[in-house]
Amino acid sequence: MSFPVIKGASYSLFHTPEMTVHQGSNQTTERYTNPNSEHFKNLQKSLRSFDEFVKYPPNQVYIGNVKPDMLKCHKRPWYEHPLEAASTDGPFGAIYTEEELIALVKIVDVFDLVVLEEDFQAGAKVKLKNKQELQIIDKLLSKLDTKGEKFAELERMVNEEHAEGMYYSGRLVGCVKKAHAFDAVLTAHVMFENLVSKATAVVNLLQMFTKTKLRPEEVDYIIETSEEACGDMNQRGGGNIAKSIGEVCGCVNATGSDTRSFCAAPVHGLVQAAALVQSGIYKNVIVIAGGSTAKLGMNSKSHIEKNMPALEDCLGAFAIHVSENDGINPIIRTDVVGRHTIGAGSAPQAVITAIVTDPLDRADIKLEDIDKFAPELQNPEITVPAGAGDVTLSNLKMIAALGVKRGDFLKEDIERIVNEKGMPGYAPTQGHIPSGVPYIGFARQEILNKKFNKVMIIGKGSLFLGRLTNLFDGVSFVMQDNTGTEEKASVSKEEVRSMVAETLKRLAESL
């Protein structure tokens, strides 16, 4: 059996303080229920500058400039101990300003829904024109050549036509118009969320084309795994965000589809990608997702209460390239896939058993054999002050505790296991983004460098939030060192004919 490989990974972040104030669901709800709330004044004071955002240690880890284990010994709170040697560019991707992102939203809009203020548009174009990743696609920036709109007209569209305003440094610089007169699924707000998700995914995929050898025309299939829904009133989640991303990125030979399972979707997407490649249906599959504006500032009230910066001022994006076995890159062990089945039960123990120990047991791999477990990688500095605990640490403790119950480890080993086989969470709380996938870039590097042999990537999802089921979800797979291209198990027609002929010949001889 020839396992598929992980050939590349890209990760990008976007600083979005104004979107946090104007579009985060916590803030839009507050504006609706209590328009004069003190929260808005307090939030403004708690927003970070772009420089603080770039130097924030977890953000430098996300784009690959620093390894996650560095955070174990980096002084806390991380927001008070910036990395002075930080950069907006990293081996996995880049960090973008809100100004750049707003211009990118205009660039990816194919229905003329996005309008930018004329001076802002001209200024943003100058900032983007030297970016290497935007040179890959011919005339990508030409969308910014058209004349922008006057500020007064923007203001009118926002005030009178329910357009969704886009702000930069405290002023209105653009808007997204509604896409239909009365379709609730094509409102300006929904279109804004979808366009931002698309824009962040697009530029991150272009990062992959810049930083790896993969060319846009080589991509066969794209699996989009965000938590947005694209469609109209007759097919609310009709899709296909994947193809809309591929279209902008020049993936002319690709098709694609969207996969959903709350935060677990990226790992579902990777398992599907692995199957598509291993079966020979496609050679190069991209699993991708952009950011979620609704989750911006989700815990900002708790952060403000504790005199912290509002750390959820950040959108994330990722893309993973799954390809046929090249004998070099880490393989995806498709025979070690964990799944939380419908009948497994939702108790934490049942979930961890289903997605961690069951698949390992089936393949006769011991917990101790896994060099790193990458579960939900939410940044604890965001979740702990909000009362949600250290999600990554809890997951690692659960794996270790289950190991104790099974007799794999001693109780006194829990701390060692957590320390050796885990890492601090460092991903923004963007739902699907922290779901194990941020570590794939590092895991690939460490396996290629022969530091690790096996890494388990774990995604979990809270399906009950959709109010259709009380079920939980979880998926996992193991990345492993590649020992060289394996022989394919299948045989050709010619070989079968030859074998049958040989057998008949022997039979005839024996008769």
Binding site: A347, P348, Q349, G387, S394, K397, K405
Partner: protein, 100 residues
Amino acid sequence: MDLENQARIKGFADQYGKDLVIVLGAGEAQAAELAAETVTQGDPTYAGPLAGVQLGLPVYHAFELKDSVDPDVYEDQAGMMEMVLDVDALIEAVKKFRAE
């Protein structure tokens, strides 16, 4: 506490009155405390249906019920989490609202 859960608890309280017992499964003391306060003294964030509603319901953390359930069931459902979570802090966070 989630606004939808507050609405459901309020509905159950209207239906069953003082026969209703709340069992929490929160993993963090702060979250357990907030939930316990909500179902006894009302929603402290004044955001949900239990804002200003003092239900005064008896509230327990699942770990407190260890002796009341089948040991095998407990072990299956909560045994692993006993090793992971700060059991004493969780019980303490909930217990004080029973005392009040």
